[in-house]
Every structure is written in structure tokens, then in C-alpha cells.
Subunit: 412 residues, 2 copies
Amino acid sequence: MALLVQKYGGTSVGSLERIEAVAKRIKRHRLQGDDVVVVVSAMSGETNRLLEMANALDENAPARETDVLVSTGEQVTIALLTIALQKIACDAVSMTGDQLRMHTDDAHGKARIKRVDDEPLRKYLQDGKVVVVAGFQGRASDNSITTLGRGGSDTTAVAIAAAIKADECQIYTDVDGVYTTDPRVEPRARRLESITFEEMLEMASLGAKVLQIRSVEFAGKYNVPLRVLSSFEEGSTGTLISYERKGMESPIISGIAFMRDTASLTILGVPDKPAIAATILEPIGDAHIDVDMIVQNSMGDGTADFTFTINRSDYKKAKVLVEQSAEKLGARRVHGNNCIAKLSIVGVGMMNHPGIAKKMFDTLGQEGINMQLISTSEIKVSVVVDDKYLELGVRALHRAFELENVAVEENI
Amino acid sequence: MALLVQKYGGTSVGSLERIEAVAKRIKRHRLQGDDVVVVVSAMSGETNRLLEMANALDENAPARETDVLVSTGEQVTIALLTIALQKIACDAVSMTGDQLRMHTDDAHGKARIKRVDDEPLRKYLQDGKVVVVAGFQGRASDNSITTLGRGGSDTTAVAIAAAIKADECQIYTDVDGVYTTDPRVEPRARRLESITFEEMLEMASLGAKVLQIRSVEFAGKYNVPLRVLSSFEEGSTGTLISYERKGMESPIISGIAFMRDTASLTILGVPDKPAIAATILEPIGDAHIDVDMIVQNSMGDGTADFTFTINRSDYKKAKVLVEQSAEKLGARRVHGNNCIAKLSIVGVGMMNHPGIAKKMFDTLGQEGINMQLISTSEIKVSVVVDDKYLELGVRALHRAFELENVAVEENI
């Protein structure tokens, strides 16, 4: 007997058969006595089909009208799922973002949720109905249709769960949870029963993409327990993301994240003055290049070395800009490397275990893997290595931290 | 400089190229100084595609959710047309039925318009925008989405034209107007410059399907001048439907309508009492069979003959029902004919010309065409003939009433 918000992504509702399977799953929850609000995405491929039409007319189609167009994708899904639910005698009703009064700001295509009026939704729940909500959409102050940007359906689900104080927000997807690392790199990778919001944020931003980062932030902010589950496998409990570790599991390290296709740029011998970083990074930002790690070392002789990493696809463009900055700053030299990868260990447990970083460095050293950059935060350590060592490094760290075993509670 | 409502049907917006052509046409009107509200249907085929998905899930899909589903068809079109308009620097904005505040009753799938709030629309017009409105849809008292039933986009256009007191409501379609008869039967059929609402109603219900009958009624009720035009041919002024004949044209007969696939059933020797018609027609109505012409003749001997016509596809079912009624009523005999067609002449001019019916009968008689039933109203005369004589009859009448010539004003 719980109040659940369940979100099904585009693959989970990608065909009429899959929609019928989702309806059956929802009905089982109803028979168990749960109240259910369902948030759905457009059927897989539909959003792209719609966007292609808009692009064919105008490559810079106006954002307001693009939102009117793509929001039909979710509207089709809510209607079909509600029809499928009623067909199996599971009382249900659909709601668009507008009917839900999902108020957003006016930034079409990337709107942010301002508030959700939970009243119309609660009324339907009280009548014993499953409420099927269109994800990804809302309405602006002038009543026009907005969309939350790609992947925004996760955020819709979390926002509703927060508004109605749901017991859990369940995100159904095509993987059955969050893993200790990518199973394609380390076959012994293991599904985590639970993970904290902070760890999940570090895992997600480091490339282990299971959930939209924004929805995790949102869930953390409103303390909505978030569960990632497979919509294709029955019986798995997925991974629960919350503020506390649940059950017996309390490892120091939760997972190994990594990012391929990385590149670094270093300016050697920059005069060590304030605002060096800003001077170097401003033209990079203006060129819409995302910067990841930033490291600056003072040499003690009035100069400093400055390094940052970017996506490999931006390497050439960024190098030209950095060379211009280097000349302006009177730096000694620029060098770059576009054959690197980033490896990170993530875990809230490391806050109480100062030896963790050393264990990471030792492990990589034993494998003969040289670290070119190191960056640390409270709950993660990231290193940059030659990209040819990526898989080796992931597997070595996974073994060293014994992630293949369910950890026992060791620090009560 | 006029205030126009233009409606484009599914074929007119059936591809991105056609949507671009529609945008260009609208821009020309803007450059002439006209204010334009555009009402669009779903792209041709789209409504059926959506309904097929609903049917695959449930052959009796709930009407509320079917409306949520099919209303996406028009929403896609308003977005695409608005994008195409902005692309050619024609300022435009889209509105759904909900945003337009097109209030309807709660009869999902066949809702009737209650009122249109013209305020949001007028505001956009004052800002110099073309307003692109989704036809066919509205919202019920509980804010759920309704649809007006098939062909309802014409009605949307007329309702908006009435609300904003438009100078003209232009219905763009794949024919360039209303013809004196079907050009496939009589190649000399001629496009009418104008026709009255009453004539159009008789023409439409008699089978010359150009406009949805409901929209013509609606236009007549609110005195909205309606113009039927081709969206593919440039330069034609189409046919204007209003209360007055415009220009030099003032013929007695406006056109020849006909209906194939007709059948008749006659009960001979029914006791001539009140409510005979009701007794016979009630089981027919209960079986959802539409009755067209109804003729009853008292024989003067206390009995009457009663005849009615129906669509040929309902003939067998209706015959069984009529035979049951005949037995109940103690009638002499039932006979039927399922090889007949209906021929009608329509024209407001005949109200002042009593000889018109005779001229019709003489013309058919000269061709050796026997009339099996005759039914008259103020502005039309209909006869039932053997269906093999249909084309011959149409052509003979078209010539006899000189419909191939533009009539000159003869009764000022």
C-alpha cells in the first residue's frame, strides 16, 4: 500500500505490445493496493520523427512552435496507455502537462518547473484512478506549451512525486539499475541495491548515464526516493537512490566511472597572476566548449602550469583558442593530448577513509598505468590516463575495491 | 483589407511541401493587408493512423482518451504551418482548441461548440500575427479535450468567423467550388459564383459533398459568408455561400443533385390511422438506418400506401423490419426496389416560378424516364428513377435548365 510515481521511457512504451505490458505491470501494483501516477515519454523514435519535420521546414524552427509539435508525442502515449489500462479493467485517466497545471518558466525547449498544482491529480487518485501523465511538458505563464528538454520526463516524474509526497519515484528503463561500473568493460560489474544522491550525481556526470542528472538533483533537493528499474525484467528491485544507504550494504567505494574521448590542453609557464584561469577559459566558454577537469600548479618561480580537459571532438578548436591566449599571456608553451581517458572512483565512504586515493594510485601503478592528471572531491577521485589503459584500469580498480562482492557493513 | 478565416483541410496540408504552399498563400493575403486566422485539419492520413492504434488496443476505446489521441493530429499541423510561416517572415502563432477556449459540451468524439472566447485570438491579431488554430477540437467543462467529430474543422472555422465577425470564412479544399452538378456525370457542369445557404444545404444533403453540412447550417445561423476555394489552383474565386445571390447571376435553378445507391420500401394498404409513419419508422430508426424521402398517399378507402427510401446497403435489413411491421398493421403487401437513384433540382428561384416542377417532369418524360416517387420542398424537387437512367436524367435536366450558361439577371 504505497503511493508510487512510475516513469516509463520511450523504449518501454515503444510499441503497442510494450504499452500493453506496461498496463499489466501497473494493474499488478493496483491489485497490491498501491496508488499509481504514471509518467510517460513519447514512443521511441517519435520525437525525432517530429523534429525532422520541423527541421525540414526551418533548421532554426521557433522554439514555441517546436514545443507545440513535439509535445504531441507524449500526448499520444498517455492516450494509448490509458486506453490499454481501461481495456484490462484498470480505471485510468490521462492528463497533459497543461491539464496537470505543470507550471514552468517561459524557456521553450528547456523550461524549468516552477510548481505543480497537485489538486486535479489528487482528485483523480481519490476516485481510485491510475493517472497517466505526459512527461516532458508544461505550460508557460502565457498558457503556451513548454517542454523541459530531452530526458525531461524523469524530471516530471520527480516533480510530481515531490508534489504529492509519493513514497517512491520509480524510473523504468532498459537497464535494471545502477552498476558498479559498465558491465561491457568489467563483466563482474554488479548492480547496486542502493546508492546516495551525491554518489549518483558523480556517477552520472562521469558518464554512467542511467538517469538524467537534473532529475537526480531534483530528487535530492526534495528528498524523493528514486528507484531505477528495468521495464523488461520482472522481479528485480533495481537500484534505490536516496540519502541513506539501505540494508547491509555499506561499501567505501560504490562504483568506477569513466569517460572516453577526452582531451587535455596545458599552458606551461603562465605568469602566476590572479584571473589567469578566467582569461584562458573565457574564449573556450564563448565557443560553447564544455570544460571538465581544471588543474593549476604554481611552479614557485612566478609562473604556473594550467591544464584543463574537454571532449575530444572540441580539441582542435580549443587548441587554437588556447594558443592565442598563451601568446597574449606570454606563456612559455602549449601542449595537448587527445588520446586520454578519465577514470574515477566514487563513494561517500571515502570521506572517512583517507587512504582510498593512495590505494587507487597504487593499484594503477602496479599495472604500469601512468596518471597524467589528478583531481579530487569529497566523494570521488578522478585521474587522467592514456586511453589505451582505460579498460585495464577499470578492471584493476573494480577488483582492488572488491566491487564484485556485496560489501558487508563494516563501519557501524 | 479584410478579416478572413481560412480553413485548410487534410489534403491541403498533406505534406511539408503543401504546408509551405499554404504558408505562401497566407502571406500574400497578409501583404494585401488582410488579417488572417487559419484553421487546419490533421495532415491527410494522420487521423486514421492514430485511430488504428487505438483500435488495435481496444475496438471500443474510451471516447475521452480517443479525443486526447486524435487531437494531436491537428496540433502537429498548427505547429508545422506556424514554423513555415515564420520561416518566410510572416509573423504567426499557433493555438490549440484549449488555448483558444473553444468551449464545447462533454460529448467526446462528437462535441458541439458552446462558445468561443475571442479575446486571446483578437490580442494576437492586434499584434499583427497570423493565428493558426487547430480545427476539430475543443475543451469540455472539466477541461478535458473534445473533438467535434469528422469534418469538424469546417465548423471550427465558421464558429471563429462568427465570433470575430470575419468578413468571410474561406474553406480551401481539393475542388474549386460548388458545381451545377457532378462534372464526372455532366462535363458541361459549371462552377457557381454564388449559392445561398438554403440551396447549399439541399445540395450537400443530396450528395454533392463539398462542405460539411453542419458548418453550412452554422454559417447560415450566424450569417457568416462562406467561400469554397481550391487550395491547389490559383486565381479562382470559388463559390460564395451567403444569404444573397451576388453579382449578375440569378438563375431559377442552381444545380442538379443526385444520389446513387438508393433503395425504396413500400407498404401497400396500411389502415389509414394516425401514427402509421411512426409505427413503421420506429424499428428502422432503432436499427440505425437513415431514412431519406418519405411519401404517404391516402387511397380514399380507409387505407394508405407508405413509401420511404434508404441507402441501398441497408435494404435487406430494413425489408425484414418492414415486413414485420406490415404484419402487425394488417397491411396488404410490401414491395421494395433496390435499383433506384434520386435526382433533384435545387434553387431558391423556383419559389417564384411555379412551372419549374412541370418542366422537370416534362424533360424526364421526353427522355422516357419514369418517375417512381416525387417529393418537393420550397427550393427543391426530388424524383426517384431507375438507377440506369441517372446519368441521362442529370444531363437532360442540366441542358433543360441551361446550367452550362452563366445565367443573366432576369428578375430584378
